[in-house]
């Protein structure tokens, strides 16, 4: 019975990119001030009030599947909820994936067979379906001004 395991291992490969991108503010798709869009992202259902939530924001399906995010953020966790603002985006279509770095070691931990041992999620609460959440389920529209996303973590 290996199928779910192996397929979900693919998830890691894509989420692992967050680890290198989380602190890299990339200017690729950052908006000019006049049409800037902000997304307030709220995280709920946090089971362990420790560590940080690592956030990756993507503007293409390819990047979401395993490329570089347009923004990476680290959000400290101290209770059952947390939030952050992804600022300065160009209006358009985006998807977010996150993992909860519960032990704060800066990595998405996995068990010896490569399955995540720390919680992960995506925008729209897109489910994992025998593999990582996909762009079609996670994509949302960002318009000029203020936007909101709520992601349930655990």
């Amino acid at each position: 019975m290996t199928s779910p395991r192996i397929k979900t291992a693919a998830l890691l490969l894509s989420i692992a990119t967050l680890q290198t991108a989380a602190f890299t503010m990339l200017p690729l798709n950052t908006a000019q001030a006049q049409d800037a869009a902000n997304v307030t992202v709220t995280f709920t259902g946090i089971q362990s009030p420790t560590g940080a939530i690592m956030v990756g924001v993507y503007d293409t399906e390819e990047a979401f599947a395993g490329g570089q995010p347009v923004q990476g953020l680290r959000v400290d966790v101290a209770g059952p909820e947390a939030s952050t603002v992804v600022a300065g985006l160009k209006p358009g279509r985006y998807a977010i994936k996150i993992y909860h770095d519960v032990n704060g070691d800066g990595r998405m931990n996995t068990n010896p067979f490569g399955m995540p041992t720390e919680p992960y999620a995506a925008s729209n609460n897109a489910p994992a379906r025998m593999g990582p959440p996909v762009w079609a389920d996670a994509v949302f529209e960002v318009t000029a001004g203020e936007n909101a996303q709520s992601i349930t973590i655990d």
């Binding site: 019975m1 779910p4 979900t8 010896p112 067979f113 399955m115 041992t117 489910p127 994992a128 379906r129």
Partner: protein, 485 residues
């Protein structure tokens, strides 16, 4: 035909079409053994069983826990394999000659998702599932439906590709997946741990050509978990152990394709033969591989080692995996039974010079069980269940094979009973092998009720010394344990 009779006929057709059991029964006049794979709709509140035969042994007291699939069909889509039904934990409490039965479904993520969808959307061993299913890890598809163990004060419902699911041993309330150490969350845990006489628990979890070797104390606490490599990605449902060695039989049913359902990803390669991997418990890097003829198997008995180093164990083998691939599907799909060769009880000897010898018991049987006080130690007896004639896939005889005296002590319940695995319970104060009882359950098809039977393990042919009957028939379960009072 007037409109009224047409509607009546149409309604009847609809009922047939939507109930696979009825469909097959109506079309082929099948035996009513399909009661063994009937759905249970709700948990069972404690009920007293009625004694229908004999007298209860005065010093037999404790709880028989049994687990097995019990919910197969849902309006929007059903399982397509016997092994994919939701696990129902049954608890038979025996005390002072009285028996109380209760049963609760293991409250798994799979059962919650399928219940919410009113359809079996979760993929399984032989069920493809739906793209609608949310599957982020093994425990999202964990049916917790194969077996059960006690780990300290916790009752664990076991599957084989996910975590143990913790239950309350008295109320059978589900507490959730067990994480033995944070970095081992979601690691697989087979349904057939081996327990040393001192209570040390050995188990495996398998992922392709890698396995984790679990070692737990008698209190259920993790002592070690080490990842080892395997020579091939065999389907491994069970393994065995001597006092010094782990014994892994690597059958030539090998996972080589990443497809859904999982069973379709295995290839039967008899030309590759069977490999038997023997691993030193004290140093997992010390290993030896034996080669023998190809066979398929699910279950083994405890192993032991002779003074000259020869390792022996019993095993129920089949010529091929046809039952796992086809037979167990047809059982729950209401199709004509797929006739498959009955498993054959054998004793395998691994000699120090590398020779492998296979001795046949001349007994078609499954669910081998031994006296747990002799786990890893030399012994002579194996209890198992034998088959009746016809297309009934279940069991009707209780057999005890004596390897030393080359004889079988057997009791035949006849074709109107579907038997479930018998476990051995030692007689308090006794120490000789099989000084105690075989305790097991089954369905009485005439009474349409589940029964509990107790045998004197050394006088099986005399029939049960006591039998009790429930008010309901619970579907056939797979494996159980007896927790002495």
């Amino acid at each position: 035909m007037n409109r009224r009779s047409f509607l009546t006929a149409a309604a009847g057709f609809a009922a047939v079409a939507f109930n696979p059991d009825v469909l097959y029964a109506a079309s082929a006049g099948v035996g009513d053994w399909t009661l063994g794979v009937a759905d249970v709709e709700a948990d069972l509140a404690p009920q007293a069983l009625r004694r229908v035969h004999g007298r209860a042994p005065a010093d037999l007291a404790g709880k028989l826990y049994r687990n097995g699939p019990a919910k197969f069909h849902r309006p929007g889509g059903s399982v397509s394999h016997w092994f994919d039904g939701d696990g129902l934990m049954r608890r038979y409490a025996i005390d002072d000659g009285q028996v109380s039965l209760s049963a609760r479904f293991v409250d798994t993520a799979k059962r919650r998702a399928d219940t919410a969808a009113d359809a079996v959307v979760t993929p399984g061993f032989g069920t493809p599932g739906s793209k609608r299913a949310s599957v982020g890890g093994a425990d999202d598809v964990n049916a917790a439906n194969i077996s059960v163990m006690m780990a300290g004060s916790e009752l664990w419902a076991l599957w084989e590709a996910g975590s143990p699911i913790v239950m309350d041993p008295d109320t059978l309330e589900t507490r959730g997946p067990k994480t033995l150490r944070p970095d081992l969350k979601g690691m697989p845990f087979l349904a057939h741990p081996r327990v040393d006489p001192d209570g040390t628990v050995w188990n495996l979890g398998v992922a392709g050509r890698r396995a984790v070797v679990w070692r737990l104390g008698a209190d259920g606490a993790l002592q070690s978990a080490d990842v080892i490599n395997l020579p091939r990605a065999s389907y491994l449902h069970d393994f065995t152990a001597t006092a010094r060695h782990l014994v892994l039989v690597l059958q030539p049913w090998i996972h080589d394709r990443l497809v859904t359902p999982i069973v379709n990803g295995y290839s039967w390669r008899p030309e590759a033969g069977t490999q038997i991997l023997v691993i030193d418990k004290a140093d997992l890097s010390r290993r030896r591989v034996f080669e023998t003829d190809p066979f398929f198997f699910f279950h083994m008995g405890d192993a032991w080692e002779e003074t000259d180093g020869t390792i022996r164990f019993d095993i129920c083998t089949s010529p091929d995996p046809k039952f796992a691939v086809e037979g167990a599907r047809a059982m729950v799909e209401g199709r004509k039974p797929v006739l498959t060769a009955s498993p054959d009880l054998r004793l395998i000897s691994l000699h120090p010079d590398g020779r492998t010898r296979i001795e046949r018991a001349g007994l078609a049987a499954e669910f081998p069980k031994a006296d747990p006080r002799f786990a890893g130690l030399a012994r002579t007896k194996t209890a198992a269940l034998g088959y009746g004639p016809g297309d009934n896939p279940f069991h009707q005889t209780v057999d005890v094979r004596d390897w030393k005296r080359d004889r079988v002590d057997s009791f035949d319940f006849g074709p109107r009973h579907l038997l479930e695995e018998m476990v051995f319970v030692p007689r308090p104060g006794g120490s000789a092998e099989f000084d105690g009882w075989l305790v097991g359950t089954g369905i009485n098809l005439d009474a349409r009720a589940t029964e509990l039977h107790v045998f004197d393990a050394r006088r099986v042919a005399a029939g049960p010394v006591c039998s009790w009957r429930a008010d309901v028939a619970l579907p056939i379960s797979l494996h159980g344990i007896f927790k002495e009072a």
